[in-house]
């Protein structure tokens, strides 16, 4: 009987030490399947999680949207992204009940409203998904990105002063898309120039912005008989969250407990459980850029228009102290509750039971690792002016001078005076899914040239 009890206690202890599975643990296999290029498996795993964990449905739908986009189904991706955008906007308001409950459990009971960078990028991805279907609403989404950025920056300034603005590097993709769409009208060159000016100041590393600005100010969209091809590449593996132990805070809590005990508060419950917080992990990006070939000839390399990894890192560094502070406040609230109960009961046996209960209570906490884990590290773009007609586009990922040929090939149609868009998802060394475009072309019949 005693052996059975010991075994049960061992199991219980192992369970508590391991903690509960976090979102990061649950989505890991789906992420790996996506980066391997196994979209069916990724989709199936996300669907399974969607059925199992309703509370994570928003972030899971974001992952599903990325899978749909890579599969060449931008319409479905757009629908999913739109749903989550609206829900995040709703959850952005704080709910006092959830906040209070989170002090007794952990932050996972709070409805997830997305990190600031995620709320901006949902709109950016909506714009890209819409462009791949013709771009009727792409301008609206691009404007929404800029509005959301403005809103976030204003609330950050109110919260933490003018310095907070430094952590919020705006997404240059939004004004870039605005400029691209304005230029295509052959009329709104002033809008295009204004937009490219924003791009040049927000993303100075994006050298093509100077050419774009020059063209919008003094040039034209394209020469007669030509159209423009924009290749958007989602490269690298984006940031995600993992549970980590906040060592400094854990040690501080233990020391604080010892000091309080030494000053006479003998009923202070012991601090054993580590303080767990979500840490942002930014995997190294092996893809430097993407080489674009047209009809077998290399025509250029993509350039970074938005560095998602850097943006997430900067913004997360800004909110991280608040996340740690919440975890510590939670511990203090729990300790205070147990301490008050021990004072009220004043019974050594009951006190021991309460201490054990408090330890168990602390161990059940998990870090809130919900995030949009299938984001790319960078969004890159290349603009090419090409003669109207059908062209074969091939992509190759460039890893610091070494190119891998798995970037995908597609036939696209270039229309006179209009834009054609191609979207590629290259998280590692090769294309995931297929090249997505708004104007599919067909290979020329025998005897015809590819124009």
């Amino acid at each position: 009987m005693s052996r059975l009890l010991a075994r049960r206690l061992c199991w219980l202890l192992t369970l508590f030490l391991a903690g509960c599975a976090t979102h990061a643990d649950r989505i890991r296999d789906a992420r790996l399947a996506f980066f391997r290029g196994d979209l069916d498996q990724a989709s199936r795993l996300i669907d399974q999680e969607l059925e199992r964990k309703k509370s994570d449905q928003d972030v899971l739908q974001l992952e599903q949207a990325m899978v749909r986009l890579a599969e060449g189904r931008p319409d479905e991706a757009e629908q999913l992204l739109r749903t989550v955008r609206d829900r995040f906007d709703h959850f952005e308001q704080k709910h006092i009940g959830e906040q209070a409950l989170s002090m007794l459990t952990d932050d996972q009971v709070i409805a997830y409203a997305g990190e600031d960078y995620e709320r901006v990028l949902i709109r950016a991805m909506l714009a890209l998904a819409n462009l791949m279907q013709g771009g009727e609403d792409a301008l609206a989404y691009a404007l929404q990105v800029q509005q959301m950025q403005q809103q976030i920056m204003e609330s950050a300034t109110l919260r933490a002063g003018e310095d907070a603005k430094l952590s919020y590097r705006p997404v240059a993709l939004a004004p870039y898309l605005h400029g691209v769409l304005a230029e295509q009208t052959h009329r709104d060159y002033d809008v295009a120039a204004r937009s490219y000016l924003h791009v040049a100041s927000w993303q100075p590393e994006f050298a093509a912005a100077q050419n774009d600005l020059q063209r919008a100010q003094f040039g034209r969209h394209s020469a007669p008989g030509h159209g423009v091809l924009y290749v958007f590449a989602l490269v690298g593996r984006g940031p995600y969250k993992e549970e980590k132990i906040e060592v400094a805070s854990t040690v501080s809590l233990i020391l604080a407990e010892h000091i309080l005990r030494a000053t006479g508060m003998h009923k202070m419950p012991p601090s054993i459980a580590p303080v767990k917080v979500p840490a942002l992990v930014v995997p190294p990006c092996s893809v430097q850029n993407v080489v674009v070939s047209v009809n077998g000839r290399d025509c250029g390399r993509t350039e970074t228009i938005t560095d998602i990894a850097q943006m997430a890192k900067d913004q997360y560094a800004e909110v991280y102290p608040q996340i740690v502070a919440r975890a510590i406040v939670r511990r203090i609230v729990k300790k205070a509750a147990v301490y008050t109960a021990k004072e009220a009961i004043d019974n050594p046996v009951a006190g021991l039971a309460l201490d054990l209960g408090n330890i168990v209570w602390d161990f059940t906490e998990s870090a809130d690792t919900r995030c949009w884990a299938l984001l790319p590290a960078k969004i890159q773009v290349l603009r090419l002016e090409l003669p109207a007609g059908t062209h074969q586009i091939s992509l190759r990922a460039n890893h610091g001078g070494i190119t891998s040929g798995g970037g995908g090939t597609a036939w696209v149609q270039i229309a006179d005076g209009a834009n054609t868009y191609v979207l590629a998802n290259i998280p590692q060394d090769r294309l995931v899914g297929s090249l997505v475009t708004n104007r599919h072309g067909f290979p020329p019949k025998a005897g015809e040239t590819s124009r």
């Binding site: 709703h90 959850f91 308001q93 704080k94 709910h95 006092i96 009940g97 906040q99 609206a140 404007l143 800029q146 509005q147 009208t185 052959h186 009329r187 709104d188 060159y189 002033d190 809008v191 204004r194 034209r220 969209h221 394209s222 020469a223 007669p224 006179d416 005076g417």
Partner: protein, 223 residues
């Protein structure tokens, strides 16, 4: 007893207040009647600025119609106008207002019966075909090519029309005033004669710790 009842009620109201302030609100909307005022943008110009600007500028231009341009068309015929769009030279983004301004102006011109605007689809097609920028159309060869293209579409024109939004900002401590000017310019493509009219709206922006409605009332402006 009364005091206890009062305290109980106060407590209930306080609890309800805390609960309501801590709940997520739902977004609501209503259709504004014509007699209801537009919302006033507190960071940039909005419907309250652009609506009256368009009304006034277009009305002034149409009012001067007969005294202004010499045209090649018969006096009873409306002038065929190619409206090239709204150029933004102000310090603010027009955002989604740009298209609306275009449509508002275009509709008002069309309804005047004094001018007949060419459909935007023809204008866009001609710009695309000729690869001309709107600002290049005043070079005679470019103008000739553009008019010939529109003529080929069966849309010969008499005038080109431009709208331009500009702004001027004056700062004073925590407040600033921004003047918005909408200028409508019409150029006879045959003679080069031009006419223009403007409408101006001034707006004051101020940072205040007072709640919006009280700050707007100006009651504590001396404070």
């Amino acid at each position: 007893m009364d005091r206890r009842h009062f305290l109980r009620m106060s407590g209930a109201f306080c609890m309800a207040g805390v609960a309501l302030s801590g709940c997520r609100t739902k977004q609501h909307a209503q259709v504004l009647r014509d007699d209801q005022a537009d919302l006033v943008g507190n960071k940039a110009a909005g419907a309250e600025t652009f609506g009256p600007l368009v009304e006034e500028a277009v009305a002034k231009l149409l009012g001067r119609h007969h005294s202004g341009l010499q045209t090649v068309s018969a006096p009873s015929q409306p002038l065929v106008v190619c409206f090239l769009g709204v150029e933004n030279k102000s310090s603010e983004e027009l955002g989604d207002f740009r298209e609306q301004l275009y449509q508002l102006i275009d509709t008002k011109i069309e309804q005047s019966n004094l001018y007949r605007p060419v459909s935007r689809r023809y204008v866009d097609a001609a710009l695309r075909e000729t690869r001309m920028r709107p600002d290049q159309l005043f070079v005679p060869e470019n103008m000739g090519l553009f008019m010939a293209t529109l003529g080929r579409y069966g849309q010969p024109i008499n005038c080109l029309m431009y709208a331009t939004i500009t702004s001027g900002t004056t700062h004073e401590d925590n407040a600033y005033q921004r003047d918005y000017l909408l200028t409508m310019e019409i150029v006879n493509v045959h003679t080069g004669d031009y006419d223009k009219e403007s409408a101006k709206i001034r707006k004051g922006y101020e940072r205040s710790r007072l709640p919006g409605p009280i700050a707007k009332s100006g009651f504590f402006s001396w404070w």
